[in-house]
Symmetry: D2
Subunit: 319 residues, 4 copies
């Protein structure tokens, strides 16, 4: 699918090499089809490519059902100016243990694997490889590929498709703790245009708490709940200047052009010393957002008209 005619094509960076889950996510990005796909070595490089204009977009893992937030990606979104999320994509997660031909499971003392993959298979690993040493790898594919280049590890955690690319022996299959696990990826760009509302949208932002005081998080979350805005994800991330200071990466249902979401974001902006809007984009699962009718756009418009009438001195509407 990816092309090499980079002069006229758009470029999308992703954590490579070919065969990673990230590449599977990129394959779902409609606007990336037939364009230039650029494999990079780490998430920081993917973000740099976008920030520096080397790439038009990057696909990065932001959350998955076992390991939670992917810290580096969340921190990069929070601290790199000008980034925006344009879409989200879900990739089912399934893992296999592979080894050099002739290796048996009881010979495995050093297991190579990307830390997120490793975390997602913890139960199987603790049961079957209790005394092992974990060799962290930069990607699921690299973990497997490395077996053929070095003997630092005896086996590796890899996607099931790995044997299509490398001559390795499968020691175990479907070793993930949760067979329904998916990883959530996002497409990141520097575009300022926001995808149109679809009725099944998500809005992401990062906000710092004003002070480390009792109830500050509570106060901030009330900005959402008093507008009937449902939070679908919250991750606390250390700001890094001192222990105990956090910023929060938050996803909510709805689009910034929905009145209730816009009103909640303004409330957050007033409350928080620093808030970064990360984008409004269609949900990967296309599930329409439900909310109480009292938070409908019409209700907001009506309230604004009412107030405007009061202040301008119009006669009261009949009621």
């Amino acid at each position: 699918m990816p092309q090499n005619d980079a002069q006229t094509l758009r470029t999308y960076s992703y954590l490579g090499p070919r065969g990673t889950f990230t590449e599977a996510a990129l394959a779902q990005v409609a606007e990336a089809q037939g364009q230039n796909w650029r494999s990079v070595n780490n998430v920081g490089e993917a973000f740099s490519d976008v920030a520096n204009g080397v790439a038009d977009g990057a696909v990065v893992a932001l959350e998955n059902s076992i390991d939670g937030g992917v810290s580096a990606a969340q921190d990069a979104l929070a601290t790199t100016p000008g980034l925006r999320i344009m879409g989200e994509y879900l990739v089912p997660v399934d893992f296999t243990v592979v080894a050099r031909r002739g290796t048996t499971l009881d010979q495995v003392t050093h297991l190579n694997g990307h830390p997120v993959a490793y975390a997602q298979c913890r139960r199987w690993i603790e049961k079957n490889l209790p005394g092992h040493t974990h060799i962290p790898s930069t990607s699921n594919v690299a973990a497997a590929a490395n077996l053929l280049e070095s003997d630092v590890a005896d086996a590796a955690i890899a996607p099931p498709t790995i044997t299509e690319h490398y001559d390795l022996e499968v020691l175990a299959e479907h070793i993930g703790d949760n067979l329904n696990a998916v990883t959530r990826f996002v497409l990141v760009t520097t575009s300022r245009s926001i995808p149109d509302p679809t009725g099944a949208d998500k809005t992401s932002f990062v906000a710092e708490l004003p002070v480390d005081q009792p109830g500050a998080l509570l106060d901030m979350l009330e900005q959402l709940s008093t507008r009937g805005v449902n939070m679908t994800m919250i991750q606390s991330r250390p700001i890094g200047d001192e222990l105990g200071r956090y910023r929060f990466v938050i996803d909510v249902d709805g689009h910034v052009r929905d009145e209730r979401v816009a009103d909640a974001l303004m409330g957050i902006h007033r409350f928080s010393p620093r808030v970064t809007f990360l984008g409004s984009y269609p949900r990967a699962d296309k599930t329409p957002v439900r909310f109480d009718a009292r938070y409908d756009d019409d209700v907001y418009i009506e309230a604004r008209d009412w107030l405007r009438g009061l202040i301008s001195g119009e006669p009261d509407a009949a009621y």
Copy 2:
């Protein structure tokens, strides 16, 4: 002070006759000086005068420090369309017991008095006239005047100035439970123009709760607290259709043209099935309103500009 050249003068209705606390409040209304003062028999009549255009304004008691809400006035404000409060006025409250000449305190078995005045002197009355019958009167002045016309009562509760107008004997002075008591009066009109903000303003409104559910009042009050708006008075009044259904008469610090108050009113409008704006007007005590700097007008304007920038696709401001 009041004049009778009604053709070219404005008319202000008040609970008479001359000598009442209400007349003392009217004497504080700058725009009523030198105009026509119309004495009426009950509060309903004062409101009707304004609603029907018989009077340009009416002065009514709305709250005092002993008896609380004056129910009829609050209900009239809540249910008469088109009324607005233009100002508030405080009148110190002091009571005397008067009787026909020759009467002694131990002869008093029937005590005449306006129910609010009666409530404000309860401790003295219970101690000094334990077995008495209370004869409610329409006004503090009428209670005293009546002693000279009928023997239904032996004594009356009256303002200290009563002996300037009527030949009565003082049996006791300063009988109020609280010597610092004041009554709060408001000037009511049908004007749509709102007095300009002074920095020491009050805003009044009436709102019904959406349903009789746990936490509905809490949810409504959060519309104020999440905008840092301080509530100075709340009165629950039955809506009247069934037991347990209430509307709330609420005063808050600030002016409808203050951003945080406007935002809170819009929140209340969205939340409540019926909200009636009663006005923004200068506080009688002229105490400047204090609020946290994070609810300043500038903060609201900045948040709105930020959101407008996001939606219109402007580049992020440097930060």
Copy 3:
């Protein structure tokens, strides 16, 4: 029904004379049947009778669907030490206008009526007697009886049964603003024993707010909502020491022996500088109280056992 053998009988005080709505409420009090009924002239006297041991109980109006809180009774409950509510009773409210024989409606310029009754018929009165003067009366019965003793009034508001006792002419019937109106009465005693829980109970208390600060009422109401306790009535009453200081008379669903109500009351006690428990008693309408299962007694007991286990160092329960 009432007896006069006061030596061996219990005494119940009520706002008389015979024929009042209060007497109709007393007729519903099971334990008062066949006992001594003592008619008094005002609500303060009824409360004094109980406080001083002259009566074993008193029946007083506390709320009705048109006029709201009956201020004097609520204040007496808040400030008289040692009072407890033992039961509540509902009396349907219906009013008639009566006059001396030969009087016609267009001749009525002075209308006698108890202030609460007057408030409950406001719409009819404003339409049919626009220029009248209101003569407040101590009771609905006294208003009518007075017509035969004095000509201070031309007509009176009275219960429909008034013509059984007095020779008066009916000028209008069913003049109440709300034909489904009921008045809520309570039985007040100094007993310390609390009626057993029935599953359809109400608990009443009075609490002051700690300071006149933004959100203090909100904080207090959260003590109820965080335990799933539903508030059925709230009345703000001025404390009386200065304008703007309130105490709140609150009714909630449930019994003090329900864990969630007990926990909420302790929360209120910690929060409020002064809280007075007024009693737990069966609801007049016998409607069982509904609440979320997560506030069940068992859930409270389980949480307490869990905590006790933690502190005492018990091994964790299997889960």
Copy 4:
């Protein structure tokens, strides 16, 4: 310091080898001095040692000022039954880049480093090694030691003391993003005894939200704020059964034997479908906990006595 006479000594597991920050934390644990220190290869092994009785305790990193929650440790605490935190310890964090003798910075294309260390030096790395490949290592010491055993990496991130143990060249010093960074370690055991309150304590627990509904987190945090309990850390961790379901690892100020903390924990227990108490223990920084006087133990005891009096029918206390 560690001894080898394992028969009569207690054993403490830690992420080795010698020279790691974890070992520096263990050196602060008073009760571990002179005991057996057991170096393990990964955090899962440390937790297993405790759960299986191989070790009496384990020291693990739980949070640091740059990278935030150490996911695996937090998940192990949440899901391994029977673990308790007995103390916390802070270790200043400082990093050096080391390489084989003769290597210069511009030759470095593959950088070895523990992912947490790597994250803590992100700014320096992005500026100085933009095109590098990150080779994750199991520990800061192993990253450096590996340089002498394999050429998979050109340089490694390591603690400053690394050159005391290995013959390596320092390419850069103090490369951490935050020179004041500290890592927070905890001592984990299976003991059921809770350290006595010191006035400067912390309490940790894990709680799941009841449902993925608007405001569920808000409701849970209110259980803390309505008791004046200050939250010092919150981490959301995916439960793992489906995307969007979280548990929260929470630290609060105070000790489980403080009334307000005990009351809050009971509130959380009632609210949450699953809550795990992780322990109360002295703060590493020994800063006394401050809280509003209205949440003092005495206030709780007084409220309980008051309620007990009400239910048992005692006469009211004078007030």
